[in-house]
Symmetry: C2
Subunit: 452 residues, 2 copies
Amino acid sequence: MTIKTHKYLLSEDQMPTNWYNIVADLPEPPPPPLHPGTHEPVGPDDLAPLFPMDLILQEVSTERYIPIPDEVQDIYRLWRPSPLYRAHRLEQALGTPARIYYKYEGVSPAGSHKPNTAVPQVYYNAKAGVKKLTTETGAGQWGTALAFASSLFGVECEVWQVGASYDAKPYRRTLIETFGGTVHRSPSRLTAAGRAFPEDHSGSLGIAISEAVEVAAQREDTKYALGSVLNHVLLHQTVIGEEALLQLEMAGEKGADLVIGCTGGGSNFGGLAFPFIREKLAGRQSPVIRAVEPASCPSLTRGEYRYDFGDTAGFTPLMKMHTLGHDFVPDRIHAGGLRYHGMAPLISHVYELGLMEAIAIEQTECFAAAIQFARTEGIVPAPEPTHALAAAMREALACKESGEEKVIITALCGHGLLDLAAYESYLGGQMVDSGLSDAELQAALAGVPTLA
Amino acid sequence: MTIKTHKYLLSEDQMPTNWYNIVADLPEPPPPPLHPGTHEPVGPDDLAPLFPMDLILQEVSTERYIPIPDEVQDIYRLWRPSPLYRAHRLEQALGTPARIYYKYEGVSPAGSHKPNTAVPQVYYNAKAGVKKLTTETGAGQWGTALAFASSLFGVECEVWQVGASYDAKPYRRTLIETFGGTVHRSPSRLTAAGRAFPEDHSGSLGIAISEAVEVAAQREDTKYALGSVLNHVLLHQTVIGEEALLQLEMAGEKGADLVIGCTGGGSNFGGLAFPFIREKLAGRQSPVIRAVEPASCPSLTRGEYRYDFGDTAGFTPLMKMHTLGHDFVPDRIHAGGLRYHGMAPLISHVYELGLMEAIAIEQTECFAAAIQFARTEGIVPAPEPTHALAAAMREALACKESGEEKVIITALCGHGLLDLAAYESYLGGQMVDSGLSDAELQAALAGVPTLA
């Protein structure tokens, strides 16, 4: 039996021209971020030292659709629309009646979904006259994306990379430099926030964010860019879900039964899921929406829904989110992009509203799934989306038992070609799982501020 | 000014269903390979210990078109048709009136053009009951491709990787293992051909071929697969050029003025160029066809057109080709895939017929071009196609001088995400050029057998 269609490709003129803002469709608005001193809601002016006004307005917007500037669309066309694939060979290997689709963002310059927001962020900063951007990066995907986008607009880009990833992934640094960025290992000696930790500390996204924010706040022509968590970042990523809706239609599907994405800060997940949640709220589809997080950093499944800082040093506003505590330092799992103590406030809110569910999976199950995926579909996934793939395979095997022909769509948010050390560890039998004990969790949560 | 179209994508049903065999259209047939003992032309039976009969028949075929089996097309659809891109942003950066297109094969499972032939080779072997395939790999692209294809057909895959590449690219080994293959550093201690060299020798494709051939020749159920050089390999790669012809038409071009590809063994170059040469021979287009080789391994531009062995130990038939001598060991340039002492006999013949031209470029010029390409187009090229890009940029800058609006098409045969050590070397200012002296060349050629 011949396999007729594997790829569902949109033409460039089918690319979305608007970003979708889920806030417009939610039954209640998300709780506002609070000023850490006054505990009053922060206004646009409070954010102005770090972000250009166009992005701040997107952060607080309640408009349903926000137009994508032509200059951003032009650059998106370097890799967008991204392909949707039907995983025929994986389905055959699993013997499942489920139909598995994956939306692949690994075709971008950074090899992940991150350029979807890096490009507009740099665009709006350049438009506002900003000369330099600082940022953090975990796995390195975000730093790569921002370096690439910065090179296109002639903006300088300085990246603090989480120590554990910096050590494990030297090629990521070279890639960022190839695109013209500069990289520091975090914690660095360049900032007070970094110097608060020993130089050989493995770092965390929280610490790296503090470092980048500290530097940006000191200079007029320098601003800060965040690769996940914030509303405007999730907004930019909705091109993923908008395209996927069109592509499922191309594939002859009436809709998805299950939408699965991994969650670290939440931008890849929100990018795919939010347009599907819009369809669900409008009654046009009724998919289950499932987030998958690493068992060693389970903010949604085991964190508390409280106001907490976005960074370790406490420079950011207080955001209401599912948190493990802002001084929580996750184990050195290979999915560096998922090692964040909190969950995007918007996703936390959507979760509290009961519009989605969440599970946590240990990394060895994820890599077993990744190997099977690579050997059937030919793509080596980044460690982060192996979580989504493992969850999709669990469901596909459940369908084998039940006989259900579910339509499963998975966010394959990046390739793992710069993460082969993780595969080496798995194949060599050295990979270990690292659950989180209740005592560790309670200790980490003890540092979260208590609001009056 | 908005950039309208960057990608020219074919649908899966526009994928070629035949491979193109240029032998059918050449004014004279290529000289036959000779038995090393008798110096008589080798027949199919001489090749049977190493290859299944289907591939041997393709090797000697004079049919113009050979149908691509459905089972192979099904797997091609995992990544084919591959995209053709217009390099708008590179053109802008160069200020050239030329229109530069690149045919990108980095979308494949191996990240290069190699799976185009790995899949049919494994298919025909599996069909003939072969249980295990041995091969060599230089940069690692070919070993990855064969491991992936083997996993799909349940065939074992054992790879000898050129020592210099094995040492410099540990992730390539992991990738081959991820796809289920096993890897040995060449020269290994597992074969007589390997043991003829010290264990820490940097190796060469010639040595690695000898090792893989030696093992395959010893066992009934084991055969050998070659990633370049042979007629059937170049045949399989013609899907590249066939697609590119359709895509240039989509882009509104009447044809190409210049077709550029890098040459190591010749398969990527032949794959793009042969269909264009067919059009040229038929008078439908009149492109200049230009091969680009590394200055340190210049088989076409400085080698001699003579009968020589394909491997170092002299196990293969004698092939008439441009050669630097089968015991030539090229410098450790980063383009590991171009470190081969000979040129595909079919390309050598086409060159002798005056249907194409060749130039050689030093690696630092290539990497300078690659950095500019990455920062404008967002793709980090493998070291091999940086040669083609550098040549394309030379031509684009010449067009800037002359005002000519040439249509240039370049084979971007793979991405460089597993070659970032080379970029690190370049960015760090450590990369050196390594031309070949006449004395070195003459010494190497002295070992080529003289036929009566």
